[in-house]
Symmetry: C2
Subunit: 169 residues, 2 copies
């Protein structure tokens, strides 16, 4: 990595000095959040790439594994992945052509499509899940249970703040 976060902090401070009125610490927080996300996303994608997966395809397979009875529709996946249905159609194409997922028309509702894991898809996600969990454990290893709980609380509070200013638009 070329830069750690201090690089950004300096940039923010430079703006702050010249244009007064900036809520400095909160701007840093937003930027830090953004930065951490990028690192998080990149780290996991790099590991998943070893299996020909990425965050979206991994999560899709995990969802499919977790609901092996219920049968999942593309719309369900769209919700679970926070992705457009358009994109899920494409993802499903990808997963099907990789041989991990099967598409079947639904009997009850003929508009629907039912997605399920193939044997290969099942084997793959069963292999990847424990790897991911180990990774996650390692990532959070330094956090005490209290810290985990506090982080959780703050993230949810942040969510509340965000939803509030969504209404007022």
């Amino acid at each position: 990595m070329k830069h750690d976060f201090s690089f950004f902090e300096l940039g923010i401070d430079r703006i702050s000095r010249r244009r007064p009125g900036m809520p400095r610490d909160r701007v840093v927080l937003n930027r830090l959040f953004f930065f951490v996300f990028k690192e998080l996303d990149e780290a996991y994608n790099r590991r998943l790439a070893e299996y020909g997966l990425n965050s979206s395809t991994f999560l899709a397979l995990a969802m499919l594994l977790s609901s092996e009875d219920k049968l999942l529709n593309p719309s369900d996946l769209s919700d679970a992945l926070i992705a457009s249905r358009t994109n899920v159609t494409r993802l499903a194409d990808e997963l099907v052509s990789a041989g991990w997922v099967a598409r079947k028309p639904s009997m009850e509702d003929r508009r629907r499509v039912e997605l399920s894991l193939t044997e290969e898809g099942r084997k793959l996600i069963m292999k990847v899940l424990p790897m991911m969990w180990k990774l996650i454990e390692r990532q959070w290893a330094d956090f005490s249970p209290t810290e985990v709980a506090e982080f959780d609380r703050l993230l949810r509070k942040m969510l509340a703040g965000l939803s509030r200013f969504k209404e007022t638009a």
Copy 2:
């Protein structure tokens, strides 16, 4: 919004029940982080869109404003935005054709290009910055200074955890 976060928590718990060994709370934390990021990004982009901007173009203009003397190269922007140089080229094209930024060849190093704000670009970012700061203040309004500091600390700790497992690959 169709779903709040509890939707995802239920999905995680469903997997957890069937496949033992999941570090449940940390998985939730990762997923929550991802969810919050999406909301954050979407919220800011929606506001910036009113000015014909998005996170990238906004940040680029802010960086340019903050270094009105130093003159910024595309590479600098690439670092600041955590974006590929390829993408910065495209962004610069966009900003130039919108009339907000000027491109000038550098004298000292003839490989380089120097980017600077036009008068219009300057006016725009001077208008947008205070709007953004107000937004950020509102977003974090419920957080006490202690909470802000604690959030900051936890995010940096998370970063440390991430960088650790980057090395070990």
